[in-house]
Symmetry: C2
Subunit: 251 residues, 2 copies
């Protein structure tokens, strides 16, 4: 399978590493607008201009949502062009042969991702092209899954809750701990248990705490203890949401 990878951001770098480590994948070129060298350490030609691009089976765009359409527009109209974005519809790609290859994970700069645990959302307009993306995911050892644009965008939104928002809650918790000379590590067993519990129970069954019990005394004490207005807002909003959720459930 001849592939061109476009983009060298966090995900682009992870895909590059996975591709060069998979003998069945022939990475023909790597497009990196701001590259300084013409070849990667593994001997893959790097191009900085789309005018140098060669023909391959698949152009995989790992490029910021905003620049994605612009780059796709510069690729041959008959090519198979695929993006990797969570919240961009497949139809944003102008080519007739278009698709999506969306690995659902939070990627860091300095970390080698093991794709074998990662769900990869696949979408395409054509059965054969879908099969090609499935094969690519399998070759990388990933777990492909057919997802419509609609499903993928909902999954991406869910991922924001699970990853970005949870991480921000942890940020506030760490800040609170630091303010009282407490190690954040004191919270780790609880954090691990919070995640583990959802293996046995649905998250809505695992809910506990002052908001669920409508324990006004504790809620009041907590709010008195919060000086950061942003955290105060978070506390009130989530407490209200928990209460509304379980009141509606009773109806």
């Amino acid at each position: 399978m001849k592939i061109t990878l476009l983009g060298a951001g966090k995900l682009g770098k992870q895909l590059y590493r996975a591709f060069v480590n998979t003998p069945e994948i022939n990475l023909v070129q790597w497009y990196d607008r701001s590259a300084l060298s013409k070849e990667s350490p593994e001997g893959i030609p790097i191009i900085t201009s789309l005018s140098e691009i060669q023909e391959t089976n698949l152009y995989l765009l790992s490029i910021s949502d905003d620049a994605l359409v612009e780059v796709a527009n510069k690729l041959p109209s008959t090519s198979f062009v695929v993006h990797t974005a969570g919240s961009v519809p497949m139809d944003a790609i102008p080519q007739k042969r278009r698709g999506v290859f969306y690995p659902l994970q939070s990627f860091s700069e300095n970390q080698v991702i093991d794709f074998s645990t990662i769900p990869i959302g696949i979408e395409s307009t054509d059965e054969k092209d879908t099969a090609m993306l499935m094969q690519l995911a399998h070759l990388m050892g990933g777990r492909p899954q057919n997802l419509s644009s609609n499903q993928r965008e909902t999954l991406h939104l869910s991922a924001v809750l699970v990853n970005n928002f949870t991480n921000h809650l942890l940020t506030h918790a760490a800040k609170l701990c630091a303010s009282q000379n407490l190690s954040f590590e004191l919270l780790r067993p609880l954090l691990i248990e919070t995640v583990r519990k959802t293996e046995q129970l649905k998250p809505h069954e695992a809910q506990t705490g002052p908001a669920l019990r409508n324990d006004q005394k504790t809620i009041h004490r907590h709010l008195e203890r919060i000086y950061d207005p942003a955290l105060k807002n978070i506390y009130k909003t989530l407490t209200t949401s928990i209460q509304t959720y379980y009141e509606n459930e009773k109806l």
Copy 2:
């Protein structure tokens, strides 16, 4: 060490199990207001009235925050009385010899907790009594830690963020997934990575996502996708808080 355990809620049951499984701990009586039998399966006398209570080294109250002071008031004024609540000050206990023994974990009804991983916040007015609580925690295999009432209440608030609020975010994510016939399990690798990352990075360093990037297009698309007004509020509140947090950091 002669102990009286008061209360048979989620935590009370876990403490009971840990005590009867520790030969060095002599659990003299178990107070359970609504018990039907006079003896536990392990042969511990169960009392339903405080008038039957015997003298021991330590009265451990695992009782709801609201009922705690009332029960403590009925115990001998010279006894050592200790509560297990996260957000009740130690001085709520009227006895001169008072203390706190606060295991930081989320307890479920049908699950045997391994105390060896659990931080236990210890507080008391007297050095010898503190030592007794430390010893009790050690005997159970727990990880005791001196915490002032102030520290403990901040830790309890942090635990609400880490456990209750995170779990509610997961509840909304699961609901979104269900609305599009997506398995919640698709999110598990991301959830595990979210937690794992905080072992290497501070939570505030691990932040990613549309709020941090100020990616208005994606934020707008997400808000359009949310029909639940409570979740819409959560999304807006957390997005604003993330943006405020990192703007202030730049200053």
